[in-house]
Every structure is written in C-alpha cells, then in structure tokens.
Symmetry: C2
Subunit: 97 residues, 2 copies
C-alpha cells in the first residue's frame, strides 16, 4: 500500500526536476516513445529512462508496449492530489498585500 504522504513525497519530488517537467509537457501533446522523449535533450537515453522511472513511481506516467517501443502516456491524476494539498494554503497566498 502507498500512503497519501508517500504519494505526495513522490509527486513533489518528481516535479522538482526541470527535465521531468519538460517530459510531462511533451506528453501533454500525446503519447511518445522513449526515443522521442530523449531527442530534445542533450542527455543520454539511460538518463531519460531514469527520469521516467521517477515519473512512473509517482504515477505521473504509464507505459505500454508497441513492438520494440515503450510508449509513455501522461497520467495527471496525482497532480490533482498535489493541487488538493496546496489548496489548503490558498487563503494564505491570497491574503497577501
């Protein structure tokens, strides 16, 4: 079982890296293979695979096979939980002058 606390830990940690946020941005346009996700970055393919592992651990990305390729899909649900947590603070950032 994965607690809500652990889920928030993993989600926020996944979002803390700019490469991972860029990957999520790319996945907004639709599914992509690992090779397609690697292309825009000056970074090795294994490095991107590692980033995908963190995104998958947080539940932000799911994967399925397509022949040799592993297609990656955006799963935004954990973001809803993160926003839910943050919303508890809304009155504090709106209270400001």
């Amino acid at each position: 079982m994965v607690t809500a606390t652990q889920q928030l830990n993993d989600t926020f940690a996944a979002l803390a890296d700019p490469t991972r946020r860029a990957i999520l941005g790319r996945l907004m346009e639709g599914e992509a293979s690992v090779a397609e996700l690697t292309e825009p970055f000056e970074m090795s393919q294994p490095a991107i695979s590692k980033h995908l592992k963190y995104l998958e651990r947080a539940g932000l990305v799911s994967r399925h096979r397509d022949a040799q390729r592993r297609m990656c899909r955006l799963e935004a649900a954990p973001m809803a939980q993160a926003v839910g947590w943050l919303e508890g603070y809304r009155e504090h950032w709106e209270a400001n002058y």
Copy 2:
C-alpha cells in the same frame, strides 16, 4: 536573479519532504519559533534548522528576530506559482476516469 524554473525546482523540492510539509502546516496557525517547530518531531534542533533553510530558499518561510528567538512565518506565495504550473494539466486529470 532567480528564474521561474529555479523557483519551481526549489518549491517542489521543499514540498517533497513530509517534515517540511508538517512545518508549513504548523505555520498556518501562526508564527512559531524554531524551538516550537522542533518540539513535535523526534528530531534534533539542527535538523529542523536545515529544513527551515530549504523552506526559506524556496521563499515559503520568512524569519525575523524576537529577542533570542527567530520567529518563522509562512509565506505561501510560491505555492500560487506551483498551482499555476499544475493548472496547465487540469484538463488531463479531469478528462480521466
């Protein structure tokens, strides 16, 4: 200068730790000294000081002196930016079932 990217990195990283989220929760009730923030945790005072440093780096906490004490105050503004970024994905998590 601090870029928006760097700000998001620091904010999400700060929020990724449950101790730091608990500290922010305590600060919703109002200002608190470092000693008061340390009390609920089974953790040394220097450990809490370090957590406060990350929160301060993200701009989520500010501090001012009160005699020997350093009072900590919640600064929720960076959360608004984080929510702003997350909102770009709202349609994706609402589309799903």
